[in-house]
Symmetry: C2
Subunit: 328 residues, 2 copies
């Protein structure tokens, strides 16, 4: 096992950001790039590339070799967000207008497509031919899963009943496989053992599910001052969150009728209050925390099984906990 010294998350993100948004591809006079650069220059939390590079570093790999795959993962993630925003008719993302809102739907479709190609281009720039095919395979399979997840999410909008398992399987596809794949790719670049690759993947998959349930939880139980968002927006939009799915699962006939009534409320505040009332009655806060913690614990069980010196796991543990306990 390699015992290179560890690189701090701050240093990793500095390296990553020093080069990520530099125009290095295509004909810069083409307007489709306006949409691309507009979006990628406002980067969000950069969770996936950070976790990819941290995983690589933790397992003794050279983080310089992880840069191109990290760009690829983030660019692909961005590409799915741009198309998502068209599908959801979203107007804002990361505190600015969405690409569809600013440049129009057509340019947004093409900007998303372009970002997708650029993601593959970054992968091809990855110089290590010995694992390129393996990384491309993981990348592709992950992309397929994400599209499947998107489609399932879209169908949920038109369905009354969604089981807890269906919901969990949807967020696994839509959110957590990309986090899992990021970390596995980092491990592959570090030439980690098959066992360690497996455990880091499972760590990412489970923590990704926990993150998503936490997102759902924050919408309702996060404090507005801390999240910077109005609470209950998922309720207003009738979003099928973990909380909502769980509430419907636990509700008796009378409570189901109450939920139905609540959803038909046209006044947003009344709607939020009615649904919250039911959530309290059904102890949804408790059930949701329990599920989050289940996946959180499962994730750390896999991290514990990674066969390296425990001190090397400190950075990932710390960053994960920061993300998990974040207020927004």
């Amino acid at each position: 096992m390699k015992t290179t010294s560890l690189v701090s998350p701050t240093e990793i993100l500095r390296k990553y950001n020093d080069t990520f948004d530099q125009p290095t591809f295509g004909d810069q006079y083409d307007k489709v790039y306006d949409g691309v650069y507009y979006f990628i220059r406002n980067e969000g939390k950069q969770i996936r590339p950070l976790l990819l590079m941290l995983a690589c570093d933790m397992l003794g790999g050279d983080i310089d070799k992880a840069l191109n795959p990290a760009y690829a993962i983030q660019m692909f993630h961005n590409s799915t967000l741009v198309h998502d925003d068209i599908i959801d008719k979203s107007e804002y993302r990361r505190g600015q207008l969405t690409v569809n809102k600013k440049f129009g739907r057509n340019t947004a479709i093409m900007a998303g497509d372009m970002m997708f190609i650029i993601a593959y281009e970054y992968l091809l720039n990855h110089s290590d031919n010995s694992n390129l095919h393996q990384i491309l395979k993981i990348f592709n399979q992950t992309a397929v899963k994400i599209m499947e997840g998107q489609q399932i999410d879209l169908e949920f909008e038109n369905r009354d009943h969604i089981s807890e398992d269906e919901y969990l399987s949807m967020i696994e596809c839509k959110t957590s496989v990309l986090i899992a794949a990021s970390m596995e790719i980092g491990a592959i670049i570090a030439e980690a053992s098959e066992q360690n690759c497996h455990h880091i993947y499972e760590f990412g998959r489970n923590i990704g599910i926990a993150f998503q349930i936490k997102d759902d939880w924050l919408d309702v139980f996060g404090s507005a001052e801390l999240t910077g968002k109005k609470i209950g927006q998922d309720i207003v939009r009738n979003k099928k969150t973990y909380l909502f799915v769980k509430a419907l699962q636990l509700a008796n006939e009378e409570q189901k009728i109450k939920i139905d009534h609540a959803l038909k409320q046209t006044d947003d505040n009344k709607k939020i209050n009615k649904v919250l009332e039911l959530y309290h009655e059904l102890n949804i806060q408790g059930h949701t925390k329990e599920k989050m913690n289940y996946f959180y614990d499962k994730a750390f069980h896999h991290l514990a099984l990674i066969d390296i010196d425990p001190y090397r796991k400190e950075s990932i543990t710390e960053i994960t906990n920061q993300l998990y306990t974040r207020k927004k």
Copy 2:
């Protein structure tokens, strides 16, 4: 140089079609695949995979090795068409409803994305690691060019003046680079020399431009009985075709005013007739034929420079001429 016996175009397409539309990827219960399979089962002319495999065969390669890249090229082409149809709000393609019309815009966005991933998946299934990286690079660069071309085409809609060079550069990106890349990939699989790869690429690039100008020409000068389409539809839709761009380039002030007037006609037939009148005055038919022939000749100049026994070029010559003299 290899001297394997040649495979007929019919046999090539049979091989190709035997396996192309078999579900071999993803979770078939996911509805996003409905859009994918709906579109790919109605295959169109399959020009690109055919030319890829013919180029491979011509240069002595094993066409079985060309199958996965041929699927990839066609799947990618399909993916761009599905997104194009959203952008153009098209209702019909290949004689059936477009994916956006049949499944809705959101599923069409995702189906296009999915086809794009599947295209890469086919490339990864290509077993020859010695040239996979090279093929992926060509594929990516081509995809980037196509997106750039799409964006330029979109911008043309909002511009009054487009130069002939701008128009030719747009169709080169949007149409001909994919034909060129298909044939170059076929040549690479056949392990052709760098010179031969270059000439087959230039053959494809130039013949692709000739094909597109021919398409523009057929809309106006093709006979309705032979093309099966009403003539002048590009005129009705104010499409910036080669004919239109050329007409504006050659028109004097008086004729420009006439074109302006014609475009403002609300009666379709009157509009077509007015524009046709101008086209006759300016000999647009003659100029367009001249330009088509220029690119056709340039293409065959490059085919002639390919250093193989001339009889091996017969199939590609024949198919190209069939496509070039086609009535629709």
